[in-house]
């Protein structure tokens, strides 16, 4: 069951890149939530393409239409379905090379799983485009969380190995996170912006692509959310994060680096601050025993370089079963990292609301 997720908030996504429409049904949203359409559109825009030379020249509008679960400006509490009609499709781009499975894409694995019956155009159901409905759902969840004071934000931690600063894991705050959301290329250290952008343009010029790392934080989360074992915050979040096409690594707190520390350095010791229980450090990223401890929730996700590159690649013809060469002609992002940020924030919002 690939398209259904969740417990209290259930998602059901559907759609193919070049089909009639993509969409999502969200089940379990409380009734009476006044939806801020401007807010949702802003989140959708953060993910949308065609904004500048750094991204693909496709112009996907991502206009959503709410079909159900919404009445008089508010959620009704019944399943809310939204669709985004597809347009601006160059489906024929894919016809002639349809049997040449694109490296690093789901073409080959999808062909095997679906016995060749899946819609291959533009990656079909494997397309990153299917994350647009996730951003829609996430925007609603973010709104609900924000109304409770819980703020989610993220920044580009690295692109092509060029590193931004990290969040201060103890003191990252609401203002900082909100500011990041209004930036199309959000960084903590603005000095690295130009070198990152140059690297992207250089890769573009070379018909190549870059990946990167996204760092996200959630602040003002109450302690006590999550569970030991199978519904740990880490499990739930990682489950959704790894559903995002291109994510190959997820780490919480200081993540892999914690494995190099001694316990005495890794452990986050407690103290009382103004009757609140806090930790001096936050190496565990706000989660202990699978449950939030009230410190900022912090994690990082590694995003691989855009699989579609213009360079000629070796591949196979899946029907003829013979070696072949592939030159991908379509329009593609040289680096999807900036567009992945709102997706990561969206699934974070969904996972957290589901656990609350």
């Amino acid at each position: 069951m690939s398209g259904i997720w969740g417990n209290k908030i259930k998602l059901s996504i559907f759609g193919e890149s070049h089909g009639k429409a993509i969409g999502i049904t969200i089940d379990g949203i409380e009734p009476g939530v006044l939806l801020d359409m401007e807010y949702i559109n802003r989140e959708m825009d953060r993910r949308a393409t065609g904004k500048n030379e750094l991204s693909t020249s496709r112009n996907e509008k991502d206009c959503f239409e709410i079909l159900s679960g919404y009445y008089n400006g508010r959620t009704t509490g019944t399943p809310l379905c939204a669709v985004i009609h597809n347009s601006d499709q160059h489906s024929k781009d894919y016809e002639k090379t349809k049997n040449l499975v694109r490296p690093s894409h789901g073409d080959y694995t999808g062909y095997i799983k679906y016995n060749g019956f899946n819609d291959y155009r533009g990656g079909g159901h494997f397309s990153g485009r299917i994350t647009a409905p996730l951003v829609f759902a996430g925007a609603i969840c973010k709104q609900i969380l924000e109304s409770r004071g819980i703020i989610i934000g993220s920044h580009i931690k690295s692109i092509g190995g060029i590193e931004d600063n990290s969040f201060n894991m103890v003191s990252v705050n609401e203002e900082e996170l909100k500011k990041l959301a209004h930036n199309n290329f959000p960084l903590l250290n603005s000095l690295v912006e130009s070198s990152m952008k140059e690297a992207i343009l250089k890769a573009k010029g070379e018909k190549d692509s870059l990946g990167g790392v996204v760092e996200a934080a959630v602040v003002n989360l109450p302690a006590g959310i999550g569970s030991p074992f199978f519904d740990s915050v880490e499990s739930q979040l990682a489950h959704l994060l790894f559903s995002i096409p291109g994510v190959k690594g997820v780490e919480f707190g200081i993540g892999f680096d914690i494995s190099k520390l001694k316990g005495s350095n890794a452990n986050d010791e407690y103290y009382i601050d103004d009757d609140k229980i806090k930790t001096y450090s936050n190496n565990n990223g706000g989660i202990l025993g699978g449950i939030t401890n009230g410190m900022p929730l912090i994690f990082r996700a590694a995003v691989k370089p855009t699989a579609s590159i213009g360079k000629i690649q070796s591949t196979v013809d899946i029907e003829k079963r013979e070696n072949a060469k592939l030159e991908i002609i379509g329009r593609h992002d040289p680096c999807i990292v900036p567009r992945v940020l709102p997706v990561i924030e969206a699934v974070t919002a969904i996972a957290i609301l589901d656990l609350m």
Copy 2:
């Protein structure tokens, strides 16, 4: 719902470290599987303690008793429940310090989540001991997978920053993986063994602890297992891996490092080898679009240093809500990494069998 997981294979775990028993019910195992008790016991032993100076001096026998779903030496197809009775408990160790929440443990978060009603002794339901039933379930799943030729193995990738070699991501094979399972301290490069062990003993001497990274591989997996989005192999595996106490990072293929590569280097190009479709490299770790591609499935999990250390730590008294100092007296592993390996292999087997 913290203790239930799965689709085709459903797990239900229960138990507290110092309660009467811990256990697991496995639902969905096919009928007629001849259980190899020696095999299961060997896996349980790999996780068990008291084997040598590197681990805790507790002597947990981990003798399991199958209560149901098993008849005449074979699985019946109905729910299989196994319990491990607790013994050798020093429950009183925990009484005097029960209000001093141990840093990096689930004590504080559990207290909040369960309103102070959870069994705190030895970490209760948060204890790493609850992974023993997972190893039991995993041993059954591993057996079933092995009967289909699918082999899972793992090694210590690093401890305290000291690095072992990595698997050859393209050519790692069955023999290599099977050999690792018979080693209590499995490494690819035996030259690092003594320095790793020295580091552990040094940490032990300093009343401190070390963490590390585990690298695991699955070979002979057919292509086509998994799904795009929510049931991606990465999602399912990461979900279970992050359920293991102490795991703070998970990465597939070359993981975080892929974010530094250009697409032309990261992409795994295809070729035909003896009528089989293979990739020259395996940076994606055998998974594309959430689905296996027939190459070795490879991932890494970061394990934090043992949270229990003998050094005096700052903490708070959770009842009095005041600052306090804590000296943990009990018997604890200076490094749990070697004992985590079979747990990681177990959840891998469970996740994969569930997806097949």
Copy 3:
């Protein structure tokens, strides 16, 4: 979670009677199924209104549009979403009486559950109209089952207490069931047709309504489908049948009557017939221990009289919280039983395919 159901086949329904659209996403349909649109439309038509004087004069076309999971005439294996756009709505009919909760409808309970935020027009999400997507999904499942030789059929067992014959529980067969599907008012004993129809028209003339019982059968089901306890065939089927608005009773085999028999009469004794194991009687309706035994699967569902009647009724004004009188003016079926048949067959097909 009200709108999600299933294990192997997952459904996610959405929509309100007078919203933009109603629809369903079906997850888990195998790839490569050639959809017979004529077949699906015929099933949709069986449920649709406006066919004759026995049903409402609303003219709902129920034209579905498949948005995803369908390519080149076949299912792709990815989530299949279909929507039915709403039209011919007399939404204003509901405005003036919106606070007068209609007896026997979900108006009052929906108001409480959703804090008054649900879309009340035409019953909103509680409307029988939301069963149209179920019929769509069921038509696909029926098609798949039929390709495996499994046939589902049903007839009107009673209307307003006027009784049709019952299926022969041992010998009901494929031809009989297929013939019923081509009849808008399917009966085993055609002699009762005129008295049933007269009773409906009489009720209509009196601004009243009638209920009835539907009897359904599934033949050629292999033995061994289902499970003891929570996934019993009875549990799964009853779960879906009771999801259909208006269903208040479900019984399998001879159902409530079996409670009056002695064991020696109730038990279905076995015999070998041409190397097949059969039972002489079929009082258990083809299910033992929650699992099919290869005999025809037979059940009955009781449908209450249409809740909307033209007669003046006592009710309350939900906002003013005072007693009131209500005269429902809209267009309503005097008896929905004939239109419920395809819905019952649909959920039967879904439940069975999910269990196989």
Copy 4:
């Protein structure tokens, strides 16, 4: 997945009639519930056998042992597992006739489903004995519901066609329901007791058995519990009720009889009573649109006659595949209806708590 059920409260049952133990894990019980062991034992005793001449002479003690999720007399909030060790088994009774599938039991269907690997002794996992853990879980849920004022009760509605009165569907109350629980043979009309008991003893004398109908009620349920469609109260309850071995029919309110009424008689009209919204009648049994309306929740379940009878029956030898005669020798209840009552109340409590 047959042994797992639930959303907020998840159950995982296991065990075979003649295996080591049967049991249940309950996940999702709130922490801090003081368990009244006397109360739980009383419920277990209501289901247990050996009480008098009306039931089997087996003496099953049904002593449960709580293994986890329980500390210092209270629930901890973590999974609560309880086991009942099997004893007093006459396993050899089943050896000689193990290939003669008992009519009306799950022997044949289980053999097919599990390829002959299931534990056939005493019905194995299909045994009514596996309902003991359900009663245990239900007793905890009932206790929690009672602490909120919600009372569940039931009586024998009929045995062998001899009818007791029905609940007054509008005025059935707490006192009435509580009184029933203290009676081993609970009836509303005590005048039918002797004829029912005589009928049972007569059936016993004839090596035959009787079935019956159980009527249950839940009072003080708030309005607003449940959902339209798949999580309707009827769906959830029927799902669990049909999991109970022997249940072949379930109806809510006046059930099948509502199909004979006109809408004007069937509809439950509203009125204000002391600022509360009530209905004059309660033909819908307290549920509209799948959601409680605050009136008593009332339903009936049909229980088939005990499948095991002493009379010689026709059957087949499942291994030899030939016709055979079977004389069941074991000790069996001539009528299980009185013992089914606590099981029905238990699953009702579980289903309702899960929905709240």
